[in-house]
Symmetry: C2
Subunit: 219 residues, 2 copies
């Protein structure tokens, strides 16, 4: 089996490159996995996409980057949490999310293109910043490693649905819906199959009122 | 070298268990890496901590869980993005974050403790929900796998500082500070060494006004 084939939940698999690129462009970090002598290692790293390349950078002293630039296989996951699917059972309750996994052998960006790649990474983190600051020095460029992975072998999984409760659960008066992970109003969405008049339970009200309930963005 | 030793930036390493637990408890997903025949694979997964154990669950059909429960080595990263460190150079600009990496061999939670473990995971995702819904059925429990990793071998890296610009950069009139990834006011923090009267540049204003600029939590 190809490793980009999902072993399960194939209905959530997408081959849509524009959805993939949108996800990669919306996230500033990914998690990269590499095999070491002691087993697999996973670490967060800043990312930026340019066309069909994923750029990552770090210190030339970074252990995983030194290993990766020797042409070892890595995978990079980029994940966005969109909310919580609150079903009528714990079994069907889950997370609304989008997750891409890219497989490949990173290559170091060569010296001629490194200034360009670093500019792309800075602009990803702080759009518009490059015009406000000095150019990187030769020493700074030399101290930084930039790796590039072709975005050719990838999988994308999008969970954006509703609680999938069976008829016996739907027939109860238990609330079901989605709590979106976004600020402001409209965070609590009722399931399409929810009967009229079922009040929002206290667990869902509490979840929706936490300032940042989910994902990487604070607690 | 022990794999829990950071190869660089050791000043950011922490051995504080309560900081580790606080991070693990604040995040609903981690990224787990496992070695496969095709190279390392990294995937997002829901997590919950109980004492010194990290729980993860999924379908019994999940490829990585079937592999992991055979006693293979994995690592799990749990990351929180707190903001962007906006320095006077691109080289010193970076991310404020906390990241834990746990290494170990997951063990399947046995049948006697599975209902308890699933309850812990549901309560992590939607606190208070268990009291509002029915118990999981025997079939649902049988279809779910729960893995547990001892939180014994781990590293924790906390980047919570300020731009570390050299004296030549500090002497310029370029703005420096931090943009926090939190809603509302007070998101833009001036660097302690910023001279009086330096206006906030447009890149920083734009970053602070994006509704969800960072991390996993939407775009």
């Amino acid at each position: 089996m190809e490793r980009t084939e999902l072993t399960r939940e194939r209905h959530r698999a997408s081959r849509d490159t524009s959805s993939l690129y949108r996800l990669l462009d919306s996230q500033i970090i990914g998690h990269v996995a590499i095999q070491t002598d002691h087993g697999p290692l996973v670490l967060p790293t800043a990312i930026a996409r340019v066309e069909d390349q994923l750029l990552m950078h770090g210190s030339v002293a970074s252990g995983w980057m030194r290993r990766a630039k020797r042409g070892e296989q890595v995978s990079v996951a980029v994940t966005q949490v969109d909310g919580v699917i609150v079903a009528r059972s714990s079994f069907e309750s889950s997370i609304r999310y989008q997750s891409a996994v890219i497989f490949g052998r990173p290559e170091p960006v060569d010296d001629e293109r490194k200034l360009w790649a670093l500019t792309v990474l800075t602009e990803k983190l702080i759009p518009g910043r490059t015009a406000e600051i000095r150019e990187p020095s030769a020493r700074e460029i030399a101290q930084t490693m930039v790796l590039s992975i072709p975005i050719h072998e990838w999988s994308l999984k999008i969970s954006n649905g509703w609680p999938d409760d069976g008829p016996e659960d739907v027939a109860t008066s238990v609330w079901a819906g989605v709590v979106l992970d976004q600020p402001g109003t409209g965070r609590i969405l009722e399931a399409p199959d929810l009967a009229a008049g079922v009040p929002v339970p206290s667990s869902v009200r509490a979840l929706a009122h936490r300032s940042m309930p989910l994902g990487d963005a604070g607690s």
